[in-house]
Symmetry: C2
Subunit: 184 residues, 2 copies
DNA sequence: TTTAACATTTCACCTATGTTAAAAAACAGA
DNA sequence: TCTGTTTTTTAACATAGGTGAAATGTTAAA
C-alpha cells in the first residue's frame, strides 16, 4: 500500500521511465512473480489489485502486502538483493501494470542522479509504511488493526477475500469473521 | 539493528562524512532525542547501546528498536519527513555516537551522487529489517520471536532490560519471564 | 436451474498471552 | 555492609484469538 508521488520526479526522468518500462497484463488469480525465483521486476499498478504472500511454517498462505491503482509492488528483498524470493505475487483481479526490470532500473539510477534520489525517497516511504505495520502488530488488537486497515484503504474490504485480509492482519479468517460480526 | 556496510562508500565520501559529523557522548538513561520534537540527527553508534521507544495508548513504554556498536539509529519518520517524532531515543548504556544533522546530510546528498546511492541502499536494508520484524509479529509465537532475537543479536540478552526486550517483542515483561523459565 | 466449488460464518473448545498482585532477587548509593 | 529502589520472577485468574468441524452463503459452469 505504497502510493507513488510522481511530483517528486522531473518530466525527463518520468519520460525515460515510461520508455524503459513495459505494459503487462495479468488475469485474476494469475501468478505475477513466483516464490523461490528471483523477482526481476518492480511493478507500477495501473489497474487492478495484487497481493504478495508467503507460506508460514505450517503451510498456511499469509498475505504480506496489497497494491492497487497507482501503487508499487515487488518482492523487495529478492528484487533489491538479487536473491530467490520467499514471497510470491499474484493478481487478485484482472490487472494492468507497468514493469521495470532490475537491470533497466540500475541503468537509470546510474544515468539520472535525480532518480537515485527518488529511489531513496520511495524506499523511505516503504520503510515507514512497513514500520507502521510492525507497530500495529506490536501493540494493537486484531480488531483495531482491522478497522485501521479499512479506514485507510476502504476498497480492500470489497476487493480482497476475507482470508487475504485476515492473513495480512496476522489472524485467522474465522477470527476476522468474528470481528466483523461483533462490530457491524 | 541495522549494521552499516562501509565498503559501499568510497573513501572520499567517508572522509567528508567524518568531517561533517560530530562526536557526542551520552550517559546511561540519558535522552538522546525527545518524543514530540523533530529529530534532527541520525546517529552512528561507536560504543554503547541505544533504544527508540514510544508510549502505547495505555501509556505503556514500548521499545521499537535497538542499536549498538556499528549500527545506526534515528527517529526515521521524523528525521526524513521533518515532522515531530512519536519516538523517543534513549541511551541504555554510556554511549558514544557520531551524529549528522539533516541539513548536513542533505548537503552531502546533493554533493555526492554516490552518497545518495548509499542512502538508498541503507534505506533498503532498514526496510527489509523492519519488514522481517513485521513478518515475525504476523506469524511467529512470542517464544519464537524471542529465540530469533537472541540468536541474531545475542548480546542484547545481557545488555538490555527484560522490559525493553519484551516491549520490542510485543509482549509483557511477565510473559517474557515465563518464556525464559520454560526454556532455560 | 442445478450443482459443484469456493468463501464465509458459526460454534464449542483450547491455548498463549495479558492482568494484577505479591515475593524474590539484583543493584546502587550511603 | 546495609538499605531503599529497581528489576525479575512467580502465581492465580481473565481473555483474545486459534483450532477443527460443520452449516450456510455465493458464484459460476454446465
Amino acid at each position: 500500500m505504497i502510493k507513488i508521488d510522481k511530483s517528486l520526479i522531473n518530466n525527463e526522468v518520468l519520460h525515460a521511465l515510461s520508455i524503459k518500462s513495459k505494459k503487462v497484463t495479468f488475469q485474476r488469480n494469475e501468478i505475477v512473480a513466483e516464490a523461490g525465483k528471483t523477482c526481476n521486476y518492480i511493478f507500477f499498478v495501473r489497474k487492478g489489485l495484487l497481493r504478495s504472500f508467503y507460506y508460514d511454517r505450517k503451510g498456511k498462505d499469509v498475505t504480506n502486502w496489497f497494491a492497487s491503482e497507482e501503487m508499487i509492488i515487488t518482492a523487495a528483498q529478492s528484487f533489491f538483493k538479487r536473491e530467490p524470493s520467499f514471497l510470491g505475487i499474484e493478481a487478485i483481479e484482472d490487472t494492468v501494470v507497468r514493469a521495470i526490470s532490475y537491470e533497466q532500473l540500475e541503468e537509470m539510477f546510474q544515468e539520472y542522479h535525480s532518480l537515485e534520489r527518488f529511489g531513496r525517497l520511495v524506499m523511505t516511504e516503504i520503510m515507514m509504511a512497513v514500520g507502521k505495520k510492525a507497530i500495529y502488530l506490536q501493540v494493537k488488537s486484531a480488531e483495531e488493526r482491522y478497522h485501521e486497515l479499512i479506514k485507510t484503504y476502504p476498497d480492500i474490504f470489497y476487493r480482497a477475500k476475507l482470508g487475504h485480509i485476515a492473513g495480512y492482519l496476522g489472524i485467522t479468517q474465522q477470527s476476522l469473521s468474528r470481528i466483523r460480526a461483533n462490530t457491524t
